[in-house]
């Protein structure tokens, strides 16, 4: 059934297409290119549509890749392939990357360099290449040292996976082996019981203009928090789901992948590349809706501990924000809002967005300092409680005592080592 590979120009074309695709930011591994060549050998290499599908089916891995593939295909072979283009607008970054292959916007880019492209794309959105690496050295050092000790595991929940235990249901396999070892003599019954693992944590980091002074620190916090999901994290009592991180700027950007880089500075540089829109105004409600539509409702937020790191300044409609936080509250196990402005003397949640969201927030905590972030980590772990969001708990029918390991510790607690131990 397997035919020899197509003519040389077909192979060359696919390799060239793969290279173009790589320059748009899609990670195309060599075995994917092999697969593309094998696929095209089964089709007609002279038909444009066949080349398109052979490449698309093998070189792409996520829906995000598809738009980039279409761009790369058009750039490499000329015109757009007619009827098969997905109706999805390219982001400025993708266009820019196609325009400048080989230069994925290094962190030292001046803001002016990206300007012509960006200005053409939108005058409303303040799209800028943020250079997160320009934090002053002392602050960076301080944060790095202290954040290194930080972890952000979610509260533990029971799973359906069973582990050997002294109690629980009878474990047939272990019982049988024990009986066999005893020469068929009925021996003691062995048991197994559900294991537990930490809930998924979803971080939504506000990187809009009003968060200017905090965004970098919070992104570093998010990086420290998301490390434990990787292979290098100690798998203590059931590995955790990876922490999902999203940035809310003028648009929603998933930065989980960028956060997976182990080196904090490399991760920050990657995030700066991904975020072309930091520092603009935020329509929180709209972005939260985008998050829930594209990710949250499908499962990312279900049963998770969702942490919003934002000051609650809403440029758009505060009612929409209220509705969306309510929707998030119905999906998530717990919604934690960390507001860096909360610590300011005389703060009251008067910002329209914050006031609309608060009734649907389980824990409302500060987020301005490291101590506050450590407290936040304890809240996420279920070891401490924040200030509740008005009457939501009783209306949601959830008992706070039942969900928390320890009674409420109000305000930022000391170093995480001194938090009350979990039950």
């Amino acid at each position: 059934m397997v035919e020899p590979p197509g003519p040389y120009d077909a192979v060359d074309s696919l390799v060239g297409l793969a290279a173009t695709l790589r320059s748009t930011g899609v990670q195309v591994s060599t075995d994917r290119v092999h697969a593309a060549v094998a696929a095209l050998a089964q089709l007609d290499p002279l038909r444009r549509a066949d080349v398109y599908w052979a490449g698309r089916l093998t070189l792409c891995g996520t829906p995000d890749d598809l738009a980039r593939y279409d761009t790369a295909f058009a750039a490499y072979f000329g015109d757009r392939p007619g009827a098969v283009v997905r109706r999805q607008r390219l982001t400025t970054r993708q266009l820019q990357l196609v325009a400048e292959p080989g230069d994925p916007g290094s962190g030292s880019d001046g803001e002016g360099e990206a300007a012509p492209m960006v200005a053409a794309a939108s005058t409303v959105e303040q799209l800028r290449h943020r250079d997160v690496t320009t934090m002053d050295a002392a602050e960076k050092e301080h944060l790095r040292r202290l954040l290194a000790a930080l972890r952000l595991p979610g509260e533990r929940r029971a799973t359906r996976r069973l582990r050997p235990s002294l109690r629980g249901q009878v474990d047939g396999g272990r019982t049988l082996r024990a009986w066999l070892a005893a020469g068929g003599e009925p021996a003691q019954l062995r048991h197994r019981a559900p294991s537990t693992r930490p809930r998924r944590v979803v971080l939504l980091v506000d990187v809009s203009g009003s968060m200017e002074g905090y965004a970098e620190a919070l992104l570093r916090f998010a990086h420290a928090a998301s490390r434990r999901g990787g292979a290098h994290a100690a798998p203590s009592r059931g590995a955790a789901d990876p922490t999902e991180v999203f940035a809310l700027g003028t648009r929603l950007t998933r930065i989980t992948r960028e956060m997976a880089l182990r080196d904090p500075d490399a991760a920050m540089a990657a995030v700066a590349t991904a975020l072309v829109d930091a520092g603009g105004g935020t329509r929180l409600g709209e972005l939260l809706k985008q998050f829930l539509d594209a990710w949250g409702q499908r499962g990312t937020a279900r049963g998770a501990v969702v942490v919003l790191l934002s000051d609650g300044w809403e440029r758009g409609d505060a009612t929409l924000l209220g509705e969306q936080v309510a929707r998030l509250h119905r999906l998530a196990h717990r919604v934690v809002w960390s507001n860096p402005r909360k610590a300011a003397p005389g703060y009251a949640p008067l910002a329209a967005g914050m006031a609309a969201a608060l009734p649907h927030v389980d824990d409302f905590v500060e987020g301005h300092s490291l101590a506050a972030l450590e407290h936040l980590a304890a809240v996420v772990r279920g070891a401490a409680a924040g200030e509740g969001g008005a009457t939501s708990r009783s209306t949601a029918g959830r008992s706070p005592a039942g969900r928390r390991g320890a009674p409420g510790v109000r305000g930022p607690a000391g170093p995480s080592g001194k938090e009350p131990a979990r039950a």
């Binding site: 599908w53 089916l57 359906r160 396999g173 499962g299």
Partner: protein
Amino acid sequence: MQDPAGLARSLTRAGYFADEGVATAAYLALALPRPLFLEGEAGVGKTALAHALATVVGADLLRLQCYEGIDASQALYDWDFPRQLLHLRAAESAGTATGAGDADRLEHEVYSRRFLLARPLLAALETSPAVLLVDEVDRADDEFEAFLLEVLSDYTVTVPELGTVRAEVPPIVVVTSNRTREVHDALKRRCLYHWVEHPRFDREVEIVRARVPEASAALAAQVAAAVGVLRAEDLLKPPGVAETIDWTLALVALGADRLDADTATATLGAVLKYREDQLHASRLDVQKMITTAVAGG
């Protein structure tokens, strides 16, 4: 089935209306052969494609529904412990288990194929030809993905007590995901990746007419067009093809041969499953929606 178009015709006879992308993906999955990884909104026909493929190639369909916490004993094989224990007791009371050699023999007996329960993955390797459908792999946790990868890479399963089971003919594998989380690259890399879209209007009419033959052509067109209008609205869950079919079935059950405002409102629960979405739809001008739908049809 010389080319994707030929496979598309066979799929049509099996009741699945494939567009060019799906047909090419399925054709390559059969020709290369390589597992097919399908992603897309719920209800766009990912699972139905596996059923249709099984019909086309005349193979058994083995379905593995994934869920959180699924592990090898539910996906691959499990030992039938109660029967094994019974066998042990029976052998003991018959007095056949005495010497050391007998203990070995007894162990051999207890861990034999007849006490092994084949779950979908093992069954797919033992059946030929077979279509293996790994449904909603995104619901399983990531440990399970690594395990699935192992089975799919060389189509062998090793049962420590029994030996290695190898597939004579590798099954045709269809993996589906609703994208509730990102599936690991290592798994995707071994597969052909296809994002399944909602079908276009005329294709959806064909699907409805094939699935609900009792529905008139006019009703099918109206329902498909109305669903198209709903999909363009800003809904929490845009209706999929499955909902279009459900809606048509509901209308046929009510004896409707046309879609009008009253019947549409009464049966809206077949298409929209969120209260917010129903409220949203009730605010729409249903009559206008129907008019648009009819004009579109």
